[in-house]
């Protein structure tokens, strides 16, 4: 098969399909190409096929159809232990009967490195994750966060070009998780390794990745850098899955280049930007981010469409205010406003007018 992606593709999935039972496809037609040094996150709900993809790359599952290539070579027929990929497991998978240093030395022993070279590399890897003094401990004597660091060091100690991470931060508490997110991206970028990271935590995906592949139903729904993914979702699944989102349903009334008018089910008409809708009469889900809703009418342009909204609940969250509104017959419309000195605190029971810039309001598939 001729190379389909650009020359700089390091990891490639080429029309990969996977079925466990021969009937239903868990992964349907996956195409993905990663350049060297990229940090790519596979994000999706459970059962979306992201973990299966990672397992196929690791070699624990075989692709039913298609080709997976690393550095231009097909790896379909290479067993896991000959692929030379580093991996951090969800439960860390540290060997409980070995000390930390023995755990790290294991991949080096397999590669028949001499004792002094092994010790030097182990120490360097431990220092890299700030665990230099813990070589003599056993995994059971370490905290979750420390075990996580050791698992990371062990995946990197033999200097693989590609590292896979399967929800490595899932078991840590929030603060530690945020710290480790930063650590992992720092180390990955310093070493210039290519990383495939699997998670179902969208915040993690957005903060860590160069690009995010959003998985659902065995397909990549969107593959984009985090900012593009958040601000310009290509379909309603991505819009719903990434970040908080207000959804209104309706029908396209008119469409004209970069603008369309949508008649909501409750009767009102609003302006929106058509994304994957094409003709009038089509049903659509309109998506607006809570922080892009404008509650101060004077800041909107005079000809902007506005909607009447009744304030149902006001929640003080410190840095932001979160207000729940009844809009177009729905009671789950959320507005987030910054806690600035001039910001109004909306009183429940009052009726206001809300609006937004048409480009912040995306008309997506229903």
């Amino acid at each position: 098969m001729a190379p389909t992606a650009a020359d700089n593709a390091f990891v490639e999935f080429d029309r990969v399909q996977k079925s466990y039972d021969g009937e239903t496809l868990v992964v349907k037609d996956l195409n993905l190409s990663m350049p060297r040094g990229e940090f790519l996150t596979m994000l999706g709900p459970s059962g979306s096929g992201k973990t299966t993809c990672l397992m196929m790359l690791a070699g624990f599952e075989t692709a039913t159809h298609g080709d997976i290539r690393i550095g231009g070579t097909s790896i379909n027929h290479i067993p896991p232990h000959k692929r030379g990929i580093g991996m951090v497991f969800q439960n860390y998978a540290l060997f409980p009967h070995m000390t930390v240093a023995e755990n790290l030395a294991f991949p080096l022993e397999v590669r028949k490195l001499g004792k002094s070279e092994r010790e030097a590399k182990v120490q360097r890897a431990l220092d890299m994750v700030q665990m230099g003094k813990f070589g003599g401990r056993r995994p059971a004597q370490l905290s979750g966060g420390q075990q996580q660091r050791i698992a990371l060091a062990r995946a990197l100690v033999f200097e693989p070009e590609l590292v896979l991470m399967d929800e490595p931060l899932g078991a840590l508490d929030k603060q530690l998780r945020e710290h480790m997110q930063f650590e992992i991206t720092r180390i990955a970028h310093n070493l210039g390794i290519t990383t495939v990271y699997v998670t179902h935590d969208q915040t993690e995906a957005l903060t860590m990745s160069d690009r995010v592949a959003v998985f659902d139903d065995g397909r990549i729904q969107q593959l984009a850098p985090p900012d593009e993914l958040y601000e310009a979702p290509q379909n309603s699944f991505v819009a719903q899955f990434i970040g908080e989102n207000n959804t209104l349903t309706g029908v396209i009334k008119s469409i004209d280049g970069g603008r369309c008018a949508v008649q909501l089910d409750s009767g009102e008409v609003i302006d929106a930007m058509p994304v994957n809708v094409s003709k009038p009469g089509e049903r659509t889900k309109v998506s607006i981010r809570p922080e892009r809703v404008e509650i101060n009418k004077s800041r909107l342009s005079p000809d902007a469409h506005t909607l009447k909204a009744e304030v149902l609940e006001f929640i003080y969250m410190g840095d932001i205010f979160r207000t729940r509104l009844r809009v177009a017959g729905r009671e789950d419309f959320i507005v987030k406003t910054r806690n600035a000195p001039d910001q109004v605190r909306l009183q429940p029971g009052t009726t206001i007018e809300i609006g937004w810039l048409p480009e912040d309001c995306r008309a997506l598939d229903a």
Binding site: P80, H81, P96, H97, V110
Partner: protein, 297 residues
Amino acid sequence: MALPIYASTTQRVWHYSYLTICGLIFFFLIAPILVIIPLSFNAQNFFTFTPEMLRFDPAGYSLKHYNDFFTNSDWQLAMKNSLKIAPVATLISVSLGTLAAIGLSQSHVPGRRAIMATLISPMIVPLIISATGMYFFYSNPYIPIPFYGKLYLPFTLTGEYWGVVLAHAALGIPFVIITVTATLVGFDKSLTRASAMMGAGPVRTFFRVQMPLIMPGVISGALFAFITSFDEVVVVLFVGSAQNKTLPWQMFIGLREQISPTILAAATILITVSVILLLVVELLRRRSERLRGMSPG
């Protein structure tokens, strides 16, 4: 297990009757064995307590039966045979049983329940039936070949050292399979995957990662297999011969032909060996669990 202070009268009554029942069960189980130990020091050739023994008169006790055990050539041959057969049978049971348990713990193996049942059957089938089958098969072993018939092997196993070893290995395998399977239930499969991702092939992964972690199960299985071989009498009567008689064989013959309390000395020695083995294995198991950090002790 202490009673909580709010226990009702019924609960108190039940609690103490429960303890009494437990005590009776233990007594019932252990008394016949314990009674043998003082009797083996009998100064007379009797199987009952003499009046001197009951008076704790030192003249009523002696080591003469032990002396007989260690000097009599029949007993010495039997002990030597037991010590030659049991370790080899154990080694075979442990190697085959461990491999079988690992293979059968993998979900993709077809018919694993049926295979497991077949391998465990020596433990369930009455020993006399296994022994009869082994006798006929070992006396003239053959390989059944479809459309050809029986391909007889040019040797016999009955009355031979290897016959007894193989028979005892077959009896020991179920114990190893059961104990190792139990350990494998708690074995984290991602450890073997991690090992593979670090470049270790299946053989290295087995010896460096899986084997050390399932060691407690392997050791307990080995202990059971050893004791099975060391204590077994039925199969050895069928498959063995006077040349390779084991301790239980000698005890059985001794009971029938020459009622001598040397049997009690032999029994006491067997009990002591079993207890020491159990203690050693338990200590080893605790040590290995502590090493892999699974229990704080």
